[in-house]
């Protein structure tokens, strides 16, 4: 019997089975793909994080301990590939006489490096001028001293005579923050920036210079063991973090107090594990709704054939079939759907993964999980309803084509209100500034996630679906006069009849409307989130790099107007914006000061309103333009100094005419939170003309080059050739790959394409497929109307009216829900954005394409139904 039933099913209901299996396929494929992407992303995060570290451990030798013993212990540890001793000494100041003037600096650090240090830790030192051996000056130090290779500097020692050294090169220290960390100190006690003055010496020279200092001032001289570790870490950042910190703790135990481990590897993995958790949350927020929607689509497709299934069951029961046999037959159908859908889904995931995400395949664990979901969806959508009908329905009720549908119980309205109110409450809670979805306490192995955050979107999804259903039901039940008016253009004189039919057979229409609304909401929210993510990643890159191409000074601190003129002539350059970069003391606090041209910086620096508070970017630049001594400060500075608009702020700047400091009055005009090339902490923005006049120098520190968003790398290469090694040239595409967290460094483009592709397919299927199946259930109605003399146009009126209703009601509900979900997702997941967006980015092109494809799918379904309705009615009735 089962074989006969199965063969009949495949022969007669092949199309419907295929449609149901397609729903399962979409759910399985989406889960597999996102799961595969998640696994790959985590592994990428780990490897990318590890790559950013050059010195894995900086082991600080304890006071009184023997550096050689510590070195020997570290070298003997499992996993240590190389360990080199590095001397750290404090200098009370540097001095250089160049160009007939004497430059002096404040205290600084002098490092003693072994000969093979640069080769062992290749990311630590980048040579800008001269060669990489001998006495090397950090770029900023060289700028402060106006020193270049060949010049002589004096290194002052506390209580001892200064030592004169000849400079061999100028270098950049890309990882200076970790290089000069305070080992063992908690994050809040770490210095906010590396020292301004840094000299690197060969180890032998360093010992010659500072060994005498170690005796009277041991506090100024210390040794670190810089260690390179083998990176056989687990791919998951959390597991890798645990393994890395475990090794570091083990080392400290073995050192028995002789050394303290500065665990750079653990620190980056600590950040990566939080990012990995965010990636997982992204998966949950964006992927799971898609899979649930695909499951709902499967249910709707299966449900569209429920009437027919009930009739078949009724027929079988009159022939003596038992409930057990009926359930057995439904189980066969469910298994066919599950096997076909799961196999198709895994194949689709493998194909799409290879093409769009460049993954090797679906990981076994995810394939198994997705298969389980596929079988679950098939069971829940095919077997369970059939089992319910077989147990509960009578033969008479099974034959019923259209029964009166009662109004939803009022409790549903209450439920929708509770769900939406709950969602709003979570939204408000996550809108507060202190909210953080993921808390990653430094130094602890555990991460905490605010799982309540999931409740916001989940409640909104559920509440939105229930409300869309209730509203559509209300419209169909009570709004028949309105529907009649709406249907008149398509249905003409039969508008009332069509409205009555749609109202009484509203189950299928409601399914179509709600599913279309959810699919539109999924497509819209996913698209808006992804495009906001892209927008913010771009903002981050622009903030970090400053412009398409950015040129900064190297040694003389004055990239001047001549350089700007040279750059303006480079093909592809549209505008060159000079920005002064100085250092100014606010009280005892040294801050970066940027001198800008207020009229042109807004467009040249791509300034956004979100960078400022208390006004728009243009508004605050206008204030600067109107008042030459206006000053924008960071929120922290405004708070620390209790500044109010108009207050005078006195900054100490270096006067180029005297070489000494000079106090210059400014007036507080507003708060700046972000600025191109500026550090994330405190900085100042003022008029460049005022700074030039008051300091006697119009020297420009940075040139922001606008290339119109194209050819950045070729313009950067040309700029390097034109301006020589003293100019530090960076371009936007290169910055994108090195900035931000490991999460933003992960290319989400493939995932976005996949998600948006699936969203498009689900929206089209929710509209077209579900409508087509619903209309297929009306073939009898249309055939009978045709027998009664209804003409082609009148039959079309039935179909087009319903299609238009589904499109308008589903689209409207979907637009509102999609907009709400977008706001919610961007707010709840604000932690993945750096900086947080001031407003969401709406990808109109994609949304219009989705709308067009969905309308086309609805139109295709309606067209097919109309075509079917024009067949000879007797043929149609005979087949039903």
């Amino acid at each position: 019997m089962i074989g006969m039933w199965l063969s009949g099913l495949l022969r007669v209901r092949g199309g419907r089975l295929l449609a149901t299996a397609s729903g399962v396929m979409v759910a399985v494929a989406l889960l597999s793909l996102l799961g595969g992407f998640l696994s790959q992303t985590r592994a990428t995060m780990t490897s990318q994080s590890v790559r950013t570290v050059s010195v894995d451990w900086q082991v600080q030798v304890a006071d009184g301990a023997d550096p050689n013993a510590v070195l020997s212990t570290v070298r003997g540890l499992d996993g240590t590939k190389a360990a080199l001793p590095v001397g750290y000494a404090g200098t009370s100041g540097l001095e250089a006489r160049t160009g007939g003037t004497l430059q002096t600096t404040g205290p600084g650090s002098v490092l003693g490096l072994p000969a093979d240090y640069a080769r062992t830790f290749p990311g630590e030192i980048r040579v800008l001028a001269g060669h990489g051996q001998g006495v090397l000056l950090a770029q900023q130090t060289a700028a402060n001293l106006h020193a270049a290779p060949g010049d002589t500097i004096a290194v002052k020692r506390a209580g001892l005579p200064a030592v004169r050294l000849r400079v061999d090169g100028v270098v950049e220290l890309p990882l200076a923050d970790s290089l000069f960390q305070k080992v063992g100190a908690p994050p809040q006690s770490q210095p906010s920036a590396p020292p301004d003055n840094i000299v690197l010496l060969p180890q032998r020279t360093w010992h010659t210079v500072f060994d005498p200092l170690a005796v009277p001032r041991p506090d100024l001289v210390r040794t670190q063991i810089h260690t390179l570790r083998g990176h056989g870490l687990p791919p998951d950042p959390a597991a890798a973090y645990t393994a890395a910190t475990g090794s570091a703790h083990n080392a400290e135990v073995r050192l028995a107090g002789a050394g303290l481990v500065g665990d750079n590897l653990g620190a980056v993995l600590d950040a990566a594990r939080a990012d990995a958790l965010y990636a997982q949350l992204l998966f949950l927020f964006l992927g799971v709704p898609g899979s649930v929607l695909a499951a709902a689509l499967t249910w709707a497709v299966a449900q569209a054939g429920a009437g027919r299934r009930r009739k078949e069951q009724a027929l079988l029961r009159t022939r003596g079939a038992t409930v057990r046999q009926l359930v057995g037959l439904a189980a066969v159908e469910a298994v066919v759907v599950a096997v076909a859908g799961t196999a198709g889904g895994l194949a689709l995931a493998a194909l799409v993964g290879r093409v769009a995400l460049h993954t090797a395949g679906v990981p076994l664990s995810w394939a198994l999980a997705a298969s389980a979901v596929g079988f679950g969806v098939a069971g829940a959508t095919v077997l369970l309803p059939a089992r319910y009908d077989a147990r509960r329905a009578t033969v008479a009720s099974g034959r019923t084509a259209v029964a009166r549908r009662p109004a939803p119980h009022p409790a549903w309205w209450a439920m929708a209100a509770v769900l939406l109110a709950g969602s709003l409450a979570v939204f408000r809670a996550t809108s507060t500034t202190t909210y953080a979805l993921v808390l990653a306490p430094e130094g602890t192995a555990s991460l905490s996630v605010d799982y309540w955050a999931f409740a916001g979107p989940a409640l909104l999804w559920a509440g939105g679906a229930v409300l869309a259903w209730l509203l559509a039901d209300l419209l169909l039940r009570r709004g028949r006069p309105l529907l009649q008016r709406l249907f008149r253009p398509a249905a003409g004189a039969l508008a009332g009849t069509v409205a009555a039919g749609v109202s009484r057979q509203r189950g299928a229409v409601l399914r179509s409307v709600v599913l279309l609304a959810l699919a539109c909401a999924f497509a819209a929210s996913t698209a808006v989130f992804n495009s906001t993510y892209r927008q913010q990643a771009e903002v981050d890159a622009v903030l970090t790099n400053g412009a398409d191409v950015t040129v900064t000074t190297s040694t003389n601190g004055a990239t001047g107007t001549a350089d700007a003129a040279k750059l303006a002539g480079v093909p592809g350059v549209q505008h060159v914006e000079p920005v002064q970069h100085r250092f100014a003391y606010v009280g005892a606090d040294l801050q970066d000061l940027y001198g800008v041209q207020p009229k042109s910086i807004v467009s040249a620096g791509r300034l956004q309103d979100a960078y400022f508070s208390g006004g728009t970017a243009s508004g605050l630049m206008d204030r600067l333009a109107r008042r030459p001594d206006a000053l924008l400060v960071s929120a922290e500075t405004a708070h620390d100094f209790q500044l109010r608009p108009g207050d005078q702020v006195r900054l100490r700047l270096t006067d180029a005419r005297t070489g000494g400091p000079r106090t210059i009055p400014f007036h507080f005009a507003g708060v700046v939170k972000e600025f191109p090339t500026a550090p994330k902490d405190s900085f100042l923005v003022a008029n460049s003309s005022y700074i030039a006049r008051t300091t006697g120098s119009a020297a420009v520190g940075t040139l922001l080059v606008d290339t119109g968003g194209t050819a950045q790398q070729s313009v950067a290469a040309r700029a390097r050739t034109l301006l020589g090694p003293n100019a530090h040239v960076t371009d936007l595409p290169s910055s994108r790959t090195v900035i931000g967290s490991s999460l933003t460094a992960v290319d989400l483009a493939g995932l976005t394409r996949v998600e948006l592709g699936f969203a498009l397919v689900i929206a089209a299927a929710a509209g077209g497929l579900v409508l087509a199946l619903g209309l297929a259930e009306r073939r009898r109605t249309l055939a009978l109307a045709s027998v009664l003399g209804a003409r082609g146009r009148q039959l079309s009126g039935f179909v087009w009216s319903e299609a238009a209703l589904v499109a308008v009601a589903g689209g409207a509900c979907g637009a509102v829900l999609g907009w709400s979900l977008s706001q919610m997702l961007v707010k709840v997941l604000s932690g993945v954005f750096d900086p947080p967006p001031s407003q969401v980015a709406v990808p109109w092109a994609y949304l219009l394409a989705t709308a067009a494809v969905t309308v086309a799918a609805l139109a295709a379904a309606a067209w097919a139904a109309v075509r079917h309705a024009r067949r000879p009615p007797l043929t149609e009735l005979r087949e039903l």
């Binding site: 259209v402 009849t497 007797l874």
Partner: protein, 261 residues
């Protein structure tokens, strides 16, 4: 008795339907099934005809050809007394099985053909309700088809035909799925209403009691239409022979099937 091929016109007035060697074959090649062999007949205004014959003899197909719901594969079916472009308006068809539109109430079902014809909503509703009232069904006006018994549904289907005031009513086994009492009621209202409207009635049936209610009887067997020209006894004897032939064929078929097993 005149067999197929010779046109026999039922005596009376204007010809509403004329079949000339009309045949209907389903499928092609060796598997083709001839449902109606070249049938020639005519139905005139005011006629009352019963087409009798066993199930599968081609009665329904003949009615569908006459109603314009199907096209002959050979010969022709003409409607000289009816405007060709609006046959559904003038030919009412009562089907064998459920034929009410499931999502519409009884009164909406009855009003639907009128709305299709362009009758204003209010007038269509009034005429539909009057038709239901005429058949004593006004209490069922707001019921959905699934809330009606088979007999009630069939009477509503009759009301739907009558509301349109057709000139020809074709009823295909209208009592086929009804018990005797319901069948009597349906035929009673059908014939009474037809008489009131002055419409011709052609009823296909295998129930002789139904056939006896009509003045003229045609018979069908194996897709061949036989029109009466002899005595009533001769006609009935011919019908009996036709039924016997069909029963013999069935028995032979069943025997072959058993042997094949």
């Amino acid at each position: 008795m005149t067999a197929n091929g010779t046109e026999t016109v039922t005596p009376g007035g204007e010809q509403l339907v004329v079949c000339t060697d009309a045949a209907r074959t389903y499928g092609t090649g060796p598997g083709a099934v001839v449902a109606v062999h070249g049938a020639s007949c005519a139905v005139t205004a005011g006629a009352g005809i019963a087409v009798v014959g066993p199930s599968g003899s081609g009665k329904s197909t003949l009615l569908h050809l006459m109603a314009g719901l199907d096209r002959p594969t050979a010969g022709r079916v003409a409607h000289p007394g009816l405007p060709e472009g609006s046959l559904p308006r003038h030919i009412g068809v009562v089907f064998q099985g459920p034929s009410l539109l499931p999502p519409l109430t009884a009164v909406e079902n009855v009003a639907l053909p009128l709305r299709i014809d362009g009758v204003a909503q209010a007038e269509a509703d009034a005429r539909a309700f009057a038709a239901l009232e005429e058949l004593g069904l006004e209490a069922l006006a707001s019921k959905l088809p699934d809330e009606l018994s088979a007999g009630q549904a069939q009477r509503v289907a009759v009301a739907r035909v009558l509301a349109r005031r057709p000139r020809l009513i074709l009823a295909d086994e209208p009592t086929g799925q009804l018990d005797r009492e319901s069948a009597g009621q349906v035929m009673g209202v059908l014939l009474a209403a037809a008489a009131t409207l002055g419409a011709a009635v052609l009823v296909s049936t295998h129930d002789m009691r139904v056939a006896d209610a009509l003045p003229t009887r045609w018979s069908m067997a194996d897709g061949r239409l036989v029109l009466p020209d002899g005595t009533a006894e001769e006609d009935r004897a011919e019908e009996d022979r036709a039924e016997e032939r069909l029963a013999g064929k069935r028995r032979a078929g069943e025997r072959q099937e058993r042997e094949a097993r």
